[in-house]
């Protein structure tokens, strides 16, 4: 049974079409990264998956069950971007509350709380109230509360927003532990490096549509073929660099000229051209395009815009 099938989902809010016919399928044990700028339709799509938004057309099925059915809800764990916790309850009490809301009782609930505290490395803070925890610990508790019923599909919505690098690493480890345990994961983020590290496939959403889907390598190849990015930084900002770069098929961002090349042999003529134009080069970098480049190429925007 396919964990998640999204078929031609459309959702409108008045004049605004938030999701414009998205179709996606996520196989078992996969980790799908959902990338898109703000307002691209990610949140509406995720809320359709968890049954909190009713699509105008199309369908969402969880292991074959309609998304808003009780059977589907039991299979899904949702970790919202907001810290959806009870601030005056302790970590253990929060987990107990959300466990009971998921129908857990007795030993099953106690075991689930124990597992969650271990998984989130919160066992030593189990008796602390949520509002007294640091931002990173609260993020981890927020994740644990979404997984208290041990769902087979987990939706993580920007789980690392506002946390320090150390806590972020801890969250990566938690997600990797889930993935290694066989949980199907859908992960939305603004951070390309997170998607590159954690996700085995990526869907890029813009204007309510999936505009690209595949592994990182597939996306780069689809967008750039075998081409590489040459970044040329200059000693000083000289007028005319943008015109000169454009004449050779490049762009200038923050004073750095970017060119796309097929072969290393194409770099030498660029350097010669710069010297002829009187632009003194300080540094030249050659690298394969990454997801950021793909995103920029496909949407015309930075991911964090």
């Amino acid at each position: 049974m396919v964990p998640l099938e999204i078929d031609s989902v459309v959702k409108r809010f008045g004049e605004l079409t938030a999701v414009a016919g998205v179709s996606l399928e996520v196989r078992e044990r996969a980790c799908l990264g959902l990338l898109g700028p703000n307002g691209a339709g990610k949140s509406t799509l995720i809320r359709s998956i968890i049954g909190r938004v009713r699509p105008d057309s199309g369908s969402v099925r969880i292991f074959g069950q309609p998304a808003n059915s009780a059977a589907a809800r039991a299979e899904i764990g949702w970790v919202p971007q907001d810290l959806a916790l009870y601030g005056l309850l302790t970590c253990r009490e929060n987990l107990d509350a959300f466990g009971r809301y998921q129908g857990l009782r007795g030993k099953a609930l106690r075991d689930a709380i124990h597992w969650c505290l271990d998984w989130a490395a919160l066992a030593d803070r189990a008796g602390a109230t949520a509002k007294t925890l640091s931002g990173g610990l609260r993020r981890r508790l927020n994740m644990a509360a979404g997984l208290i019923h041990r769902p087979r599909i987990v939706l993580l919505d920007e789980p690392t927003v506002g946390v320090d690098p150390q806590s972020r690493n801890r969250i990566f480890e938690m997600v990797e532990a889930l993935r290694n345990g066989g949980t199907t994961i859908i992960y939305t983020t603004h951070y390309m490096e997170e998607a590159e590290r954690l996700c085995d496939s990526i869907a890029i959403i813009d204007h309510g549509r999936v505009i690209a889907r595949g592994t990182k390598e597939e996306l780069v190849t689809q967008s750039f073929g075998g081409r590489s990015d040459v970044a040329m930084r200059f000693v000083a900002t000289v007028p005319g660099i943008a015109v000169w770069a454009a004449s050779r098929g490049g762009t200038v961002q923050d004073g750095t000229a970017h060119f796309s090349v097929d072969r290393a042999a194409e770099i030498a003529p660029l350097l010669d051209g710069a010297a002829e134009g009187g632009y003194e080069v300080a540094e030249v970098t050659v690298r394969r395009p990454n997801l950021e480049s793909v995103f920029l190429q496909l949407t015309g925007r930075e991911l964090r815009q």
Binding site: R52, R73, P80, D82, Y86, F98
Partner: protein, 434 residues
């Protein structure tokens, strides 16, 4: 600099609807409510409801009854109101009037005893006269005094001939007797006065202006006042205030507790809860149960305190207390849920609930006893939980009525609670799906 601070303050105030309501609408609402209660707009002094029983059936007692029924400050009646399509019920007797006062139909009854007409008044304390009896519900401390004063006034204005006759008798005793001419002249004058009184009775005119009123023992007529409700109570008004103040604060607590729904919506916890196995109906029912239990605990603490400090007789009234507490708590909890489901933010909830709760408390009798309010205001008060809850607790603790007599109060509180819960459920749909 100061001008900038002032300007910022007004800009912020203009955009804060809650603060605007608290600053401008609430004071006007309260001013209006208390203006109406204290008679500034329509009525003047609230009329005291009085049951009148004429055991004497003499001409003098008949005139007194008619005078009392005409008295504008009294709302007098000699028999219960007839139901539609049914014949008029029999007139009150001393026994049925006493029962009616005990049940709270009226705060006082006036019994005109047999033999009153033969010697209705005396000019000196201790003179020969039959005393009028006032049966009084002491939960209304004003009614007996008003009735006693009005009875003295009505005796003077409705029986001037009897008063003059009595005066001449005193004069005759003191002066050693009247001459036949003097006696004839007096009889003629009295006859003329009686004729005028008959004409006025037939015309149904208003009584003449009062010449003054006497106190119970020292007036023209003797009056005995007997408390038929609450005569053995040590703290007559404690149950009233425990219920009145309790319900008011219960409503504040319930709206604050209902506000947890808004907190959950704001934090995203509501989305998380509803994305699991909990439906909105289950969630609201759970919150209702919590609010109801919290309100029960609050009321119990309030009445325990009243029992410990003010000697309220709680423990002999436990069944009635339990029934009223559960019904009141349920109604108040549903009220809190409705307010929370209507509001968009905590600040909005605070403003709306303060306005509504203080208004309901003012007209429902939590701040000012309803029996002292004008009739129209008393009826408006029945639109509030406060009035029904206070009436129910008064029945239990004041009138010692059995649980079976709490039917109307319990039915209204539970019924209104269910309606409000259904409305809250309806408004909560906005959180269910997009």
């Amino acid at each position: 600099m100061i001008a900038a601070i002032v300007r910022n303050g007004f800009r912020a105030l203009r955009r804060d609807r809650g603060a605007l309501i608290l600053s401008f609408i609430l004071p006007i609402a309260f001013f209006t409510i208390f203006g109406v209660i204290f008679g500034g707009m329509h009525d003047t002094t609230p009329r005291v409801r009085l049951l009148v029983v004429d055991e004497d059936r003499s001409e003098a007692s008949g005139r007194l009854v008619r005078g009392l029924l005409r008295e504008p400050s009294l709302n007098g009646s000699t028999r219960p109101e007839a139901r539609k399509g049914e014949p008029a019920p029999p007139e009150y007797t001393a026994a049925t009037a006493e029962t009616a006062v005990q049940q709270g139909d009226a705060p006082a009854a006036l019994i005109i005893p047999r033999g009153f007409g033969a010697s209705p008044m005396a000019f000196a304390p201790g003179g020969e006269r039959k005393a009028l009896r006032i049966l009084h519900d002491s939960s209304d401390p004003v009614a007996a005094q008003v009735v006693a004063g009005m009875a003295q006034k009505v005796v003077m204005t409705s029986m001037p001939d009897t008063m003059a006759d009595l005066g001449m008798k005193y004069f005759a005793q003191a002066s050693g007797g009247l001459t036949p001419e003097q006696r004839k002249s007096v009889e003629s004058g009295l006859s003329q006065l009686r004729g005028q009184m008959r004409e006025r009775d037939q015309a149904g005119g208003a009584p003449a202006a009062a010449a003054g009123s006497g106190d119970n023992g020292g007036g023209l007529v003797a009056i005995e006042v007997r408390d038929v409700v609450g005569e053995k109570k040590r703290s007559p008004m404690v149950a009233f205030y425990a219920a009145g103040i309790g319900v008011m604060f219960l409503m504040f607590t319930a709206s604050a507790a209902g506000g947890s729904l808004l907190d959950e919506a704001e934090s995203g916890a509501l989305d998380r809860i509803l994305s699991g196995r909990v439906s909105m109906t289950t969630l609201l029912a759970g919150k209702m149960a919590y609010c109801t239990l919290l309100a029960c605990a609050q009321l119990t603490l309030m009445f325990l305190w009243a029992a410990a400090v003010f000697h309220l007789d709680l423990f002999t009234h436990l069944p009635g207390f339990f029934v009223m507490t559960v019904a009141t708590a349920f109604a108040v909890a549903s009220f809190g849920m409705l307010l929370a489901s209507l509001a968009n933010t905590r600040a909005q909830l605070g403003a709306i609930s303060t306005l509504i709760i203080l208004t309901m408390s003012a007209i429902g009798g939590s701040m000012f006893p309803r029996f002292l309010m004008p009739e129209g205001m008393k009826k408006v008060g029945l639109m509030t939980f406060n009035a029904w809850a206070i009436d129910g607790y008064t029945k239990v603790f004041w009138r010692d009525e059995p649980v079976s007599h709490l039917g109307p109060q319990v039915a209204v509180l539970i019924g209104a609670g269910m309606v409000l819960f259904l409305l809250a459920r309806r408004f909560a749909r906005r959180w269910e799906y997009a």
